[in-house]
């Protein structure tokens, strides 16, 4: 493997990412399964990087899961998205910052369709106006939340308390990066590093001391497939995809997985549990699983946030092996302690923000 070859490709895919004044839209999956990640993201953006990130209470889903579950027609989705733009205009922001990869992909795709078929955009304008009386202009900049963390990875590294380094051996942690399919597979030029060798997570990992490992099924989908997970009868497919990835990465002995899509970490986490239940197989060292993280969680750990404030207790596959390797000071007994003192303080600070 020649890393120089990848660097040449990375140079070709430098997308524009806004610097400040972001309009944040939340993710269906991330809110439910990784609430600590969205909280950590806003803490990092506001408290660490001093950025203006606005959230409108009236924004909603983009309907992405319904759209890709094929129950929501394309024009309905486009009009809901147009409404999101309208709310952003109303708040006086221009830089759209979705928390979700499917949303990011959908926004990108819709803007592209409108660009090529202006008559479709015209129709959506009319429908939005008719339904809500709203008008809109499209965002000036569209970046996924992981793009922004990538952009400020050096600033985060400068304030890091921990590194992605095994404290006992001094070796970098071996990290598998898993990119959500809708990040760049549809529009390679809209992803940092492109579709084949995305750099968005690899850049963070490298900057924070870890080593990214490439493996044959790196680009494979986690298997969510919308309807393929939503309906129980189809989950055999969904889990088989993740299994394909685990089998392929196992020989490289990864310490952890980092993800940028909200769904992928949940599936990569839960399917390890199910594979172990069905087949008695685990893919990490010493009969452990391979801990799976969101990029917000990893950024939070690097900055020294309490693992239980980040929500690592919500993972089914234990994250502790990584905490140990990084030498993070944490209290194991607080993991499932619902009444830890910190919670109210954190909650209050968040609601105020």
């Amino acid at each position: 493997m020649n890393i120089e070859g990848k660097k040449v490709i990375w140079k070709d895919y430098q997308k524009e990412i806004a610097d400040d004044r972001f309009y944040y839209v939340r993710s269906c999956v991330r809110q439910n399964f990784f609430p600590g990640s969205e909280t950590a993201f806003l803490r990092i953006m506001r408290d660490v990087l001093g950025k203006d990130v606005y959230e409108h209470p009236c924004h909603t889903t983009c309907t992405g899961i319904g759209y890709h579950g094929d129950i929501v027609p394309v024009e309905t989705t486009m009009t809901v998205v147009a409404r999101q733009f309208s709310l952003m205009n109303e708040a006086g922001y221009e830089n759209l910052l979705p928390s979700c990869i499917t949303s990011f992909g959908l926004y990108t795709e819709i803007l592209d369709t409108w660009h090529h078929f202006p008559e479709v955009e015209e129709k959506i304008r009319k429908q939005l106006k008719k339904a809500t009386g709203r008008e809109f202009t499209v965002p000036k900049n569209l970046a996924h939340a992981s793009d922004v963390i990538y952009k400020f990875r050096k600033e985060i590294a400068a304030k890091a308390k921990y590194k992605l380094i095994n404290k006992n051996t001094g070796e970098p942690l071996r990290v598998v990066d898993h990119i959500g399919c809708h990040y760049a597979k549809m529009f390679p030029s809209k992803g940092v590093g492109g579709a084949e060798y995305p750099y968005v997570l690899a850049g963070m990992v490298e900057e924070w001391g870890g080593q990214v490992i490439d493996y044959p099924e790196r680009r494979h989908c986690c298997g969510f497939g919308f309807r393929q997970y939503l309906v129980q009868a189809n989950r055999g497919f969904s889990i088989a995809c993740s299994k394909e990835k685990f089998e392929s990465m196992q020989p490289f002995k990864p310490d952890m997985i980092i993800t940028n899509c909200p769904g992928c970490p949940m599936f990569l986490d839960r399917w390890q549990y199910v594979i172990n239940e069905i087949e008695g197989k685990r893919y990490g060292k010493n009969g452990e699983g391979i801990p799976v993280f969101t990029y917000e969680e990893v950024a939070g750990l690097v900055l020294g946030y309490d693992p239980w404030d980040l929500g690592l207790q919500m993972h089914q596959t234990d994250c502790e092996p990584v905490l140990e390797k990084m030498g993070i000071e944490y209290s194991p007994e607080d993991k499932f302690n619902l009444y830890a003192d910190k919670k109210s303080e954190l909650h209050n600070s968040f609601v105020k923000a």
Binding site: M1, E4, G5, V8, Y197, R218, R219, P251
Partner: protein, 328 residues
């Protein structure tokens, strides 16, 4: 070279401008030629002999910086500051091989054992086909249509010669490495030249080369440094996955950088495929949009050596005709 030699023989004063230090272009890099697999140096020797005329002023390491029409002739300024006058010009700026790293999913320049057809010719010249770690490959894959018939890289056309090159190289690999297995991944076998189809048959019959119909979707590297190739075996209607030791990319042909630059400074027309565009594809394939400027060879389209030489001779005839009758 062909055109220069022929014109000189007919008594014209010819100046040959070559951007490299010697003439011959890609022929210099090739080991043996399809379909009869004669040594490329034999053709080169023929061309060199043609060039030995004293009527030819051969300027190497020379490119054109400026080109101006002076009534019935052209004035050319070279990179060496020289000014040349020409009554007629033949453009024979050739082709470039597609830069295979642009097909990112095949990992050329990233995975150690992914090479191009040109790299393989280099190995043939050295008489040694080896992997990055100097061991001998056992399973070899050949990917057709790399940079051809592919909207993703902006080339809609077929480069025409890669199929037969693949077959030729597959046979040569089997000759060099009798223990090896070779797999060609193709979309269509375009063996449209004299004795090409026969070579394809020989590859199957005598050399046991395997042909799988499907465009390779991606290559990746496993922990042992082997390449994993994903393709659909379209004739079986099933996706197929296999481990390969050495993967060879059949790089297609593109307009050369030199041609691009010339097009910019001269006002010569290029087509949708970005090659130079002749005024008529059927009966005027040497004639450009500028009076007295003619094309020869692969600067207009992918061609093999036979076609290139024929095209050059036709250009000579156009020049002769132009200088005798057409010049106004």
């Amino acid at each position: 070279m062909e055109a220069a030699g022929r014109l000189a023989k007919s008594g014209f004063h010819v100046t040959l401008l070559e951007k490299e230090t010697s003439a011959g272009g890609h022929l210099n890099d090739w080991y043996k030629l399809f379909p009869d697999r004669r040594d490329s140096s034999e053709v080169k020797r023929y061309l060199d002999d043609l060039m030995s005329s004293e009527q030819i002023n051969f300027l190497t390491s020379t490119t054109i910086e400026k080109i101006e029409s002076k009534g019935s002739s052209y004035s050319l300024m070279t990179n060496n500051g020289e000014n040349l006058n020409a009554d007629s010009i033949i453009v024979a700026t050739g082709f470039d091989l597609f830069k295979s790293s642009r097909k990112e999913e095949y990992g050329y320049g990233i995975y150690d054992n992914v090479i191009t057809s040109a790299d393989l010719e280099g190995m043939f010249r050295k008489g040694k086909i080896v992997l990055h770690d100097n061991t001998t490959p056992k399973i070899i894959g050949i990917v057709h249509c790399v940079g051809s018939r592919d909207e993703k890289v902006g080339n809609l056309y077929c480069s025409k010669l890669c199929c037969v090159t693949a077959v030729k190289q597959a046979i040569e690999i089997r000759e060099h490495l009798p223990e090896s297995k070779v797999f060609c991944f193709y979309m269509d076998m375009r063996m449209g030249g004299a004795y090409y189809e026969e070579l394809y048959r020989e590859a199957q019959e005598k050399w046991g080369v395997n042909f799988i119909r499907g465009k390779v979707s991606e290559a990746s590297e496993n922990i042992d440094g082997k390449l994993i190739v994903k393709v659909e075996d379209t004739l079986a209607g099933r996706p197929l996955k296999m481990e390969i030791d050495l993967l060879i990319l059949m790089a297609g042909m593109e307009i050369s950088e030199g041609s691009k630059k010339l097009a910019e400074i001269s006002g010569l027309n290029t087509g949708e495929n970005r090659f130079f565009e002749a005024i008529d594809n059927h009966y005027g394939s040497n004639i450009s949009n500028l009076p007295g400027v003619f094309y020869a060879g692969t600067c207009t389209a992918p061609m093999n050596i036979t076609e290139t030489i024929s095209h050059a001779r036709a250009a000579v005839s156009e020049v002769q005709d132009y200088l005798k009758n057409g010049k106004s």
